[in-house]
């Protein structure tokens, strides 16, 4: 994953809803946004971002890009991602919410074959505080430092960043993998990236009900992660099956036990892996401080 300030970034769906606001914010944060794509608007500019009709046209003009950020409406997100892959882009962040899961299945088969990294969908993307903003994170809550945050939520991630910042703990990265049933990059991938990242000294993992990715992450932490991890799982008190729009638990669970997907199952997995568990967001900073002292 290339996450340096000079990384070249494309935005697909530049005029969708709030994406032009976010494009301007990214640019202001120092992200090297080199072009935007909006069929029918080729030749225009947004601020100083040139707009093209096709990804390949943009690349012919600005050269290869490292990352594209997709804001198009959900039914067009698969097509936008396929267009980016066809143009040779290797890192794709899908902000769009509401992609049908079978579109993701289709995309992942191709992404795996072409070794393309997909983050999302339904994700605010990635932020490396004071360096680069790739997505819609509320950057004002972040400050540079040593704590890596990996999460499935958006606003809850900002909440945790704010709590850390307020306690004087900066962050090395904030990444949300998205909360949909079928997503690209996993907790496992990001745990591995953060374990190898030199800036990151502690990892905060934020999970929620649905799916079994937290359970898998817990096992992986016990086996392979050397840095301290603090887990916080939201939705302990949420009634079963109620997820406020997050669809992580719609898929069938075959042969994995009836309890999989609940916050309780995830908490049990982290406990078994001897990972420190925060009961509430405000507990996270003290647990991080404790872990950093030990190390």
């Amino acid at each position: 994953m290339k996450l340096t300030p000079e990384s070249k970034v494309l935005i697909q769906g530049l005029y969708e809803l709030s994406s032009s606001t976010h494009a301007v914010r990214m640019k202001a944060y120092g992200t090297n946004v080199v072009a935007g794509i909006n069929p029918g608007h080729g030749g225009q500019t947004l601020g100083d971002i040139p707009v093209f009709d096709l990804v390949e046209q943009a690349l012919a003009e600005v050269g290869p890009v490292d990352t594209t950020i997709i804001f198009v409406p959900p039914y067009q997100a698969l097509d936008a991602a396929l267009e980016a892959i066809a143009a040779g882009i290797k890192q794709i962040i899908i902000i769009s919410a509401g992609m049908p899961p079978l579109d993701m299945v289709h995309l992942l088969r191709i992404a795996e074959a072409t070794e393309t990294l997909i983050v999302g969908p339904n994700s605010p993307g990635i932020i490396v505080p004071a360096k680069i903003l790739l997505g819609t994170h509320a950057s004002e809550f972040y400050t540079p430092g040593e704590v890596g945050i990996v999460s499935r939520s958006s606003t809850l991630t900002y909440e945790i960043a704010l709590q850390l910042t307020t306690a004087g703990l900066g962050q090395s990265i904030g990444v949300s993998i998205g909360s949909d049933t079928i997503i690209g990059s996993s907790f496992l991938q990001w745990l591995q990236i953060l374990d190898e990242d030199e800036t990151t000294q502690a990892i905060v993992l934020i999970g929620e009900p649905g799916g079994n990715s937290e359970e898998a992450a817990a096992r992986y932490i016990a086996e392979a992660i050397d840095k301290p991890v603090i887990a916080y799982i939201t939705g302990r008190q949420a009634p079963a099956g109620k997820h406020w729009g997050h669809t992580g638990n719609l898929a069938a669970v075959v042969g994995r036990g009836a309890n999989v997907g609940t916050a309780q199952s995830k908490l049990a997995a982290f406990k078994e892996a001897k990972v420190a568990i925060a009961q509430r967001p405000s507990e996270i900073p003290e647990l991080v401080k404790k872990a950093l002292k030990k190390g």
């Binding site: 958006s154 709590q163 939705g235 008190q237 729009g245 042969g255």
Partner: protein, 395 residues
């Protein structure tokens, strides 16, 4: 969205999956015009399971018995659900019953084919017989044959059952399904196969791109209790009918975290509302501030809610814009007779927690309607719980 059995079977028939001759029965008198020869089976069309055990399936030999049985079934709720229609279907003598399904598996991020040689109600009692095949790449019939062999099938059944799985997979992809299930698949003494019952779940997010399914969804929504503006708002859930706190936030994770904190503090949230982003079922998503205004209105109408906790973090609109929406909401309701005698808090009580760099203007704005703006989440939860207790005592 779950389809009813007769709807699933219409799709099966279109795909070429063998189903028995059947007829939809809207009222008992429809049975006078029954075109299927007796004996027939009458089946309650409900989405809940366990209808056989509950008495929702009856075999009948003649019209008189059929009408009487239909009247009984129409008046028989199954797990609280009354059938809108019945299905009259020919009887079938199955020697064996299989289980077949195609389902989306989040862990492997692929569709999975499922099959058991012991279908019907037995499938749950013998999970060790349930076989699965992950469809790693583009589907090809060998995935289906692989499943039939794992199920232990031999001879002509390998091909005939594989054909059905292939058609189920086509349906799964064509209609954007989360699940298609045939249980049981009847197998006759001559090894002929027949889909005797079926379950289909359409992925909710994909409905809008299938005009035929969108029509079905609309009919279903019109029948259902549609007083809630859910499509406009995003998602809401009733948590605990006896609760007295409403939670409104932007983002599912944040709403759940707030719910946990309020519950841990000993209070009972009644309803949670996520106004983070509108659903894509709606072609004209409302702007954030409109969803916030609608959300406040929705929670206000709930009589048992004594306090609403608004928790908004990092939204695109500024804190001042959000404060203006809240102020307008309160001013609109001040014309109504106040339910509580003191004017220190509007009814229901509002606690507003916003996180933003610049909060002073928002704080001033909210002061004009006596609503406190709290910056710290734990503090906001504490105030909410305290106010809920005070308001509950007033009643």
């Amino acid at each position: 969205m779950d389809l009813l059995e007769y709807q699933a079977k219409e799709w099966f028939r279109e795909m070429g999956i063998p189903v028995l001759p059947s007829q939809r029965i809207d009222r008992p008198s429809d049975l006078k015009g029954l075109k299927i020869p007796y004996p027939v089976v009458l089946k309650s069309q409900v989405r809940t399971g366990g209808r056989g055990r509950a008495g929702g399936v009856k075999f009948v030999e003649n019209t008189i018995d059929a009408i009487a049985a239909a009247q009984t079934i129409f008046h028989l709720p199954i797990l609280g659900e009354f059938p809108e229609v019945l299905l009259a279907e020919a009887k079938y003598d199955a020697e064996r019953e299989f289980y077949l399904a195609v389902v989306l598996d989040a862990a492997v991020r692929r569709p999975v084919l499922l099959g058991s040689p012991q279908g019907g109600v037995d499938v749950e009692s013998s999970p060790e017989l349930l076989q699965q095949v992950v469809v790693e790449q583009e589907f090809s019939p060998f995935y289906a044959r692989r499943l039939t062999l794992k199920m232990g099938l031999t001879g002509t059944l390998i091909q005939s059952v594989s054909d059905i799985i292939e058609k189920m997979y086509q349906l799964f992809v064509q209609k954007d399904l989360d699940l298609v299930e045939i249980n049981p698949l009847g197998v006759s003494s001559l090894d002929e196969v027949m889909a005797l019952d079926g379950k289909v779940t359409v992925n909710d997010r994909a409905i809008a791109r299938h005009p035929d399914i969108a029509v079905m969804a609309e009919k279903k929504a019109n029948r259902a209790n549609s007083q809630y503006p859910t499509a406009m708002l995003g998602s809401w859930e009733e948590v605990e009918p006896s609760g007295n706190i409403g939670i409104l936030g932007n983002g599912a994770g944040l709403v759940m975290a707030t719910l946990d904190l309020v519950t841990d503090a000993g209070s009972k949230p009644a309803t949670c509302l996520n106004v983070g982003h509108g659903r894509n079922l709606n072609t004209s998503p409302l702007a954030f501030c409109d969803r916030l205004a609608l959300g406040l209105e929705f929670l206000y109408q709930s009589k048992n809610i004594k306090v609403v906790l608004v928790n908004i973090v990092g939204s695109v609109p500024t804190a001042l814009e959000i404060a203006s929406v809240i102020t307008n909401f309160i001013q609109r309701h001040e014309d109504r007779p106040p339910a509580s005698k003191t004017r220190s808090h509007p009814y229901p009580g509002l606690i507003v927690r916003l996180a933003d760099l610049e909060l002073e203007a928002a704080r001033e704005q909210l002061k004009t309607v006596q609503v406190p703006l709290v910056e710290n989440l734990d503090e906001a939860v504490e105030q909410t719980v305290r106010l809920a207790k005070v308001n509950a005592a007033k009643r």
